[in-house]
C-alpha cells in the first residue's frame, strides 16, 4: 500500500531524465505491478509573435497546492486500483527542452494506470495554484495560460 498523507511534489528547477529512470527502476521490487503510465511535461519553445520562449519560471502557492494535490491523490486512489502514484512539479526556472512535470502511476493492469495518470495530469493543470512565466529569448516574457 502507498502512504496517503500530504507530501511535497515540488522540485527546484528541471526534473532530470535520470531521476525518472531511477524512479522506474525502484518499482521492480513491486511484482504486483503489471503496467506503468507516465506523463512528462516538457518546456516547449513556442514562437509567440516572433519571440521565442527560452524558459518557464514557475511559482506556486505552496501550502494550498500541496493540500489540493493531497485531495487529488485521495480521489484518484479511491477511484482506481493503483499500486502507487508519484507526482513531481518544477518550481523556478526550467529551460526549453527540460522536464517540468512528471506524473507516474502504476497498477496491476494497464487501464487503471493509464486512466489515473491522464486524470491526474488534467487535474494538476486545472486545480493546482501554480503559475508559469514564459521567458522570451533576449528579453520580455508573458504569463502562460493553460488550455
Amino acid at each position: 500500500m502507498s502512504e496517503r498523507k500530504p507530501r511535497n511534489i515540488f522540485v527546484q528547477g528541471a526534473i532530470p531524465a535520470s531521476f525518472i529512470g531511477e524512479s522506474i527502476a525502484k518499482h521492480a521490487t513491486n511484482t504486483k505491478i503489471g503496467g506503468h503510465s507516465i506523463f512528462l511535461g516538457q518546456v516547449r519553445s513556442d514562437d509567440i509573435e516572433g519571440k521565442k520562449v527560452s524558459a518557464i519560471e514557475y511559482t506556486t502557492y505552496e501550502e494550498m497546492a500541496l493540500q489540493k494535490m493531497f485531495e487529488i491523490r485521495e480521489d484518484i486512489f479511491a477511484k482506481y486500483p493503483l499500486t502507487c502514484m508519484h507526482v513531481y512539479h518544477s518550481l523556478g526556472l526550467v529551460k526549453e527542452g527540460e522536464i517540468c512535470l512528471f506524473v507516474f502511476t502504476s497498477s496491476a493492469h494497464r487501464k487503471p494506470a493509464i486512466d489515473a495518470c491522464t486524470e491526474c495530469v488534467e487535474r494538476i493543470k486545472a486545480e493546482l495554484p501554480v503559475w508559469g512565466k514564459e521567458i522570451f529569448e533576449g528579453e520580455g516574457y508573458q504569463w502562460k495560460t493553460n488550455s
Partner: protein
C-alpha cells in the same frame, strides 16, 4: 484589524507586491472593494480568491487569522 492578503502570478504586477495588509475589512466583498479602489486595474483582472486554502465563490467572512490569496488562472504543468 489588518488582514494580510497574498497575490500570485501576474496579479503581483498590479499590486507591486506579493503581500499587502488591508485594514478594516470583515468580508471578501469589502476586501475586493478596498483593493479595487487602491489598484483599479485589479478589477479588470481575472482572479479567484482562496480563504484558508479553499477557493470561495460567494462573499465570505474573514478575520486577521484568515489566509487570503488572490490567484490568477492556474498555468502549471
Amino acid at each position: 484589524m489588518a488582514t494580510e492578503v497574498m497575490f500570485f502570478g501576474q496579479l503581483t504586477e498590479i499590486t507591486g507586491s506579493s503581500r499587502l495588509a488591508v485594514a478594516d475589512v470583515r468580508d471578501t466583498d469589502a476586501l475586493k472593494e478596498k483593493l479595487f479602489q487602491d489598484y483599479p486595474s485589479l478589477s479588470a483582472a481575472k482572479f479567484r480568491i482562496a480563504v484558508n486554502n479553499k477557493i470561495i465563490n460567494d462573499n465570505t467572512l474573514i478575520s486577521e487569522d484568515s489566509k487570503i490569496a488572490f490567484m490568477p488562472p492556474f498555468s502549471g504543468g
